[in-house]
Symmetry: C2
Subunit: 120 residues, 2 copies
């Protein structure tokens, strides 16, 4: 069973990996087969849907990367963490989000919910 | 369908209502029949389990009340908010928590997950 930190690192890496084959490997390692992802802007089901959603976000925000900013905090099968979207050159976030997720029995992410914070 | 603010206000009110009958009415108005609640310290299923958990916490922390501190933030069927546990006389929190929940189709809380923050 993968450590929750490894799973969350894999999640962040999935969002940053623009090579389709490597990204898909990260998505499979990180998300359960029946995983879902929902944030204020999108909703995606399954690894295919999640992979396509990540690819679309990458096309929309070239030159940025996601970085883990707080957490993961874990109890039972629930995890939360905060991320920053930062320019490739720099670390001032242009977007900040908080994700909550439930974990599948094998430790992968099952239901991920993202919230977006106000950025000053 | 109840407004999410009304549901979250009812949730906070449930935690503060020590009269068993009134508390149970608030729990029924606020939680779906198949609701669950889990935080780092407890896990409860159904309205009976949730009501018993709230009653136990009230016995453990007499002289304190819960107050909504941020949110609720809502998108899709997902909500999050932050609460403070404060003394009846005063408003300096002795505990801070963040709750994340999914909503049932009728707008009541279905799966509630609480996280506890570090209090300085």
């Amino acid at each position: 069973m993968p450590d929750v930190s490894a799973v969350v690192d894999g999640y962040i890496a999935s969002w940053n990996e623009t090579d389709p084959e490597r990204r898909r490997q990260l998505v499979e390692a990180t998300f359960a087969a029946d995983a879902s992802y929902v944030d204020p802007l999108v909703a995606a089901d399954g690894r295919d849907g999640i992979d396509a959603t990540i690819a679309a976000v990458q096309r929309q925000f070239p030159g940025y990367r996601f970085a883990l900013a707080a957490g993961p905090d874990l109890h039972h099968d629930r995890v939360r963490f905060t991320w920053h979207l930062v320019p490739d050159a720099g670390d001032a976030p242009v977007a900040i989000g908080q994700d909550f997720a439930t974990l599948a029995t094998d430790g992968r992410l099952r239901a991920v919910t993202g919230f977006l914070e106000q950025v000053a």
